[in-house]
């Protein structure tokens, strides 16, 4: 990075897939809506809607499904010029099956996908092209996809440190992709590079060595290990941020729940948006629970993410009609 070069806001990378969403149990047939999903691209879209400059540097196949992923990200104003098109592997699929009003079943078709074959070279290229990002955002899903993708993440963390880029990690543990032991082995080594750690309550131990993980306060341990902000998502109970200044809690925003999928990613987008705006922690938490509530109130992974102008809509009363 040349000193003084302007930076763009966020670089993120990970697997995005074509998402198929049914309206009844899969085994009954019917029809499914086609969209796009991916934890990191959900965050990217959430940030772009809020006005931030975001780049997504994942990999898709050189197929129509990959084209849909890229079309969608471009539509949302996310820069995909650093994305890789892999001619030798397909774009992954994810099927969302509604089973009960509040229970969704997910089926993956991502084994061997282009997204899982993301390379460290692609990450190098993303950092090499133009100015450096202010924030790098990773999730704990990507290293579970395969050795190349894991190495790409590690490379990204090192490059972030080299470029003075803050690193944010959303743990997002997926038991279908790897065991908690495997996850812990990988993620613990990331902690020294992480500035902002976001996780649900039960995911915190995955970030600590077993010798470290017994303490009653994993948050405190993580702060001691150098993480600047530990943000804990508590679902309907809101969220808590732990920093050197202490602990702050924000309750969840009340909203009529439609689809919880994507709420965690929306939360991250809100948190990072306020961080990029140089807002203090209470404002970050507040924006995070607000964008999270938008996701819960909307069908889809990212479709309901608010623009900056829409952030205030959530407070409108029932039956609000904006004429």
């Amino acid at each position: 990075m040349r000193p003084g070069a302007p930076r763009y806001d966020v670089l993120t990378l990970g697997e995005s897939m074509v998402a198929l969403r049914g309206s009844r149990p899969l085994k009954l047939g019917g029809s499914m809506d086609v969209s796009v999903a991916g934890a990191e691209s959900n965050v990217a879209i959430g940030l772009s809607r809020l006005g931030h400059a975001v780049r997504w540097a994942g990999a898709v196949g050189d197929d129509e499904a990959g084209e849909l992923v890229l079309r969608t990200l471009r539509a949302e104003g996310v820069d995909v010029t650093g994305a890789t098109r892999d001619p030798a592997a397909p774009t992954g699929l994810i099927l969302f099956e509604p089973r009960l009003p509040e229970v969704t079943r997910v089926h993956y078709y991502r084994a061997g996908s282009a997204g899982s074959r993301l390379t460290p070279e692609a990450v190098e290229a993303a950092f090499a092209a133009g100015p450096a990002p202010r924030v790098l955002h990773l999730t704990g899903i990507t290293p579970a996809l395969g050795p190349s993708a894991a190495e790409a993440c590690r490379r990204a963390l090192r490059l972030a440190r080299d470029h003075g880029t803050q690193a944010c990690l959303d743990v997002n543990f997926r038991s279908r992709l790897w065991s908690s032991r495997e996850a812990a082995a990988e993620l613990r080594s990331w902690i020294p590079y992480v500035d902002v750690l976001i996780a649900s309550d039960d995911e915190l131990p995955l970030c600590l060595a077993s010798s470290e993980s017994t303490p009653s306060s994993p948050e405190k341990t993580l702060l001691e290990l150098g993480v600047r902000e530990v943000v804990v998502k508590l679902g309907a109970s809101g969220a808590t941020a732990h920093t050197a200044d202490g602990e702050l809690h924000a309750p969840a925003r009340e909203v009529r729940a439609v689809d919880a999928v994507g709420a965690g990613d929306a939360f991250v987008a809100g948190y990072l948006s306020a961080l990029l705006d140089a807002e203090p922690v209470p404002t970050r938490l507040d924006r995070a629970v607000t964008t999270g509530a938008f996701a819960v109130a909307s069908r889809g992974d990212w479709e309901g993410a608010p623009t900056r102008a829409e952030l205030g809509l959530l407070g409108a009363g029932p039956g609000t009609v904006i004429r």
Copy 2:
């Protein structure tokens, strides 16, 4: 009006449009359902479903959208023989965009529409054709559409007085169409002609001169100005009627909310229906909150309006199956 001539129940006029209703944010594309909406025609359908003889004397373009408006009103038994088809202007459109479960955004394509060009002559013709109506129903939307439409309303109010027809006004202030100052300037001059005034809480001051509007009880002032019944819609808090006999309150009916659009119009239809049935004020309020609840419980502007036989359905328990 010849003395003793039989009257039909209600004449109403105003703009009705083709209504497009999406199931997700407009900017995401998808599809939209096509129907018809208009405050006055919503009232007309509500009354017709309850068995009253209603005429709608608005204007539509000489186009397919206008044909849809007329087809829909005819289907619902509303007499449209007095409606105008304007060959020189299109039928307006209204787009309803769902943004959050309880927040709907509305987009109008009605500038210069046929409906906004309604003429006083059309109103003259509507009164001249056959017997006079028992009730004339107007809203505060129509005068905001343009000078000709405003003059048509004034003409209608004068003709109503000449024919011994009661006049009902639902204030329905639309800030997108005019300012509250403009609205007040127009509507205050209508008050001497109005028998039944229906408004939401915050709309009452629009009906009073600024010298009059300071008092703590605008309802009382309106009664003093000659309005016979002042009915205040309070949304989830029900409604209150003010007459010479005092003030009466009715709570809202509990119902699972689906779509608040059209609830105010449905409320008016219920109120006028009971008034036409010569029911006392408590019954009028009760029917009004009941028809309003039907609208809240149904998708669309008027689609869920009850027939007289269905009025009792609202009390049925959860999970009722009528076999």
Copy 3:
């Protein structure tokens, strides 16, 4: 029945129809989803999903609608080799019309249908083919369909007694098909054959002679008449089972209500499933309120019935995503 012959689990019979389900009031047109419904086949599917071997021995027309009924039951693993195809009568239809979020109107096209012409001979054949069932399940709908169908039920009850098959009756009174007097005249004569009686609160008197029906506890009277288990469905208040050992109550499971249709049948399936598993009464009631809750939480008559593995899903918290 040869002594010692292995038995399959359940035989049931009754009318199944093509079910058309709209998403708005029928008089507004639109579109309707096509499926299959029938109280007994709903129970059959519920049991098959839970792993039991079930036969359905109803009658359908030799038409495409009948083929849909049979395709659906076969898909669900219900044995229909004993079903009758009647070349001289059509398969019945049932239209479900949503009127309010919690009120559904039903329209039947089943007069003279193949299902209503079920014959005692078909029942004879069902018992004669292979081993006997452990349980026979009937509802009070079938005898209301016509004399032949009523006689088929009586024959089935006698054959059940002859074969040592337990008989279960779900009263399911349908006032559109017959009067309560007619129902009582028929059903009382069945009581001596019934082992498990399932009914809603207000249906119990239909099972007792007028001389018997005055007592404050019809359940006790029914037990005295030889019914082994009297299970009373109380909707949102749960259910109560009365046996020689006394009375047991289970509250309803909390769930977001989607469609109450089919909940009673799902309840029966859960109860019989646990009975076939030789579970004690509390477990039977518990499984019954659980399967009932699944039905309430799902659109359709039987579509949401759980497999055995899914029974535990109901306790998952809001926003559960099974990845």
Copy 4:
């Protein structure tokens, strides 16, 4: 009829049903579109679209399906004030099942329907109410529905003669409803009352006694029996009209075929429209093949019927865009 009283254009009567139209074979489930169908109401709508004053005097049940029939006819400007609502019988249903691109299977649920119970008294009332029609239109379907409906037709034919109303009969033989022998027995007795007879080639013998039906030219025999115009529909080969002036042929209009259902009724509407306009036979045939072609080019029974202004559209070239 008072001499000189103004007449309206057409009175027609017969059964109209709720029509369900699938997009794939019925046995596969899926969904069906809900509309209305009936040979006579198809003709009524076709005529109303062309600007004629039409009354439909059939019977529907006092149910939501009947309301849909009436809503649809009112929407299309057909006068239904003479229609009967039968509280004791349901409105019939008709299911259209697409089996191959050019083969549609029809399933009726009309046995015992309100429409089949049409009474002579209803016909009397229709003639007694106001001025007489210029044309009465019947089809050979109605007498097949039951003795009351058959008697209603006979009554209508006699009243037509009494009132100087021309009678038009479209034979429309339905083998599912009656045998050709039954049809012939009934329809032959109608011939003396019929002014305009419309039939397909193979239906002509049904209008002649067996002693009459052998001749090579049934058309000539029918003319000799007093029919003024014998119009023979030949499908893709067009149509032929036989009158005292000889025989005239019109080829079919070329059009991309979408759905042949309703084409015959549309043909009748075109023919009668030109007859009411006092156009000569060639113009009648031309309008008939044109309206028939519109029906073939449109999905549904009547949905694509042209207005007078649209009649010219058919000649537009491929890819025409009317901006």
Copy 5:
């Protein structure tokens, strides 16, 4: 096989997948219909619809997609009691993307699927369970899925010979799954076991060694190698059968093309159906081109397959309405 034991008609095995079918290019999103596809199960359904007893012995995952495959086959009357549920691999997916009216693009998600892991043991079990089939049907797709699936096919061919079961092979070369060299290496070794070989024109060389494949008539060579019937599918040009008795050609049936996918499988079902009926070759070819035409005229892989009663429908004229 015990001598004289009754046989069922056909055993087939191969991979069936959940099929998603869009109505516009995949990259534009939208929605997709969910069904089931698989060359062998298409044949199985086609045969079952024609009244034959068929078993399908493929493998699916122990997931909801697998359940949909089994539900569909059961619905169609195909015996799936010999199917394998693989807990360690998912059911494959296939996406059909319409690109032009006559061009469909296919995307597979079947790498590592349960269907591709079919085992020889499963085939052993299928032959061991009950009587032997009269015909074994395989395609050249299965051996391309992996070594285990290839070995399963070889085992099936040997078992067929041992049990006196005729073997039918539809070459169905898929260049996405293997090279023509690989295909030839495998399929040539099957020829000695094959009684009926079905292939398109350009697939024939795949069945011959390179030393054999030069001759001008590969059909003759195949007959010399012991194949009893060589049936060549020629698409719009019909089909040709080569036997010891010479060569026979049947032209394709004219039909309005809707979707060519599945036509080859439908052709095979028709051919085998007539063979099972002991019809001579001309009748086999005729039934094959007829069932093939049904597939071309219907959307989906197998949805439009005719029953025996429907075979005659194809000759019905345009605009046929079966009332």
Copy 6:
């Protein structure tokens, strides 16, 4: 323009609107699909799909409809950084109503729209930002939208000349927007600036002064006036190009017609693509009729536009399945 600066391929400007497309006549209601349309943006997308760098510099409202326009163009890789968002006017709408299989009716809601208020300043800015385009593409629709838009076009033509940018004009006369006299008055003055003129046969006279327009060959006159290439679209008859080298004709590509809307714009995209590739005139015409055929074969204005790799698909035979 700095000498030697690299250029991007195409700049285009004009009005793009939200497009609503029904599947049946508008007056019958139903639903409409939401997309985007605009002659110039159709061309832009067509070019982008073929790999060219394109900028679109139109204006949309600062509303959700405008956001949909921009999202769509971004998705397709069209640079919209030069687009204007007008806070004071809405984005226009266009409704496509299918009336017959080959006749589409269009309804505009574009009066006073943001797109019609495009300013010369916006055009200045588009040229000022970065390198100059190689081609400027305009249509004759834009000047019909209002004086500001007309002036914007004139400015663009002058700037093109100043920057050495070739100008392409597609006449696209819209009689709903202006008279042929008005069109001619405007467009004639453009001719001196135009390098490539594309028009349908009957539009050519609009480009010539009345003194010029009588000649038998308007093409020759246009060439004499300095137009380098005159390309005449002849619909199903193909197209003809007139240059100094003479006249060249290309027949239309055969394709199953689905929707002719957008075919002209697709034709232009193909022509310009080959021109940018420095292909000779025959190749330009060939690519133009090919991309035009893709549009005719696809639903929507631009949705079916081919990528470069897909250009060859059109020659695939019927029933092609790309596996």
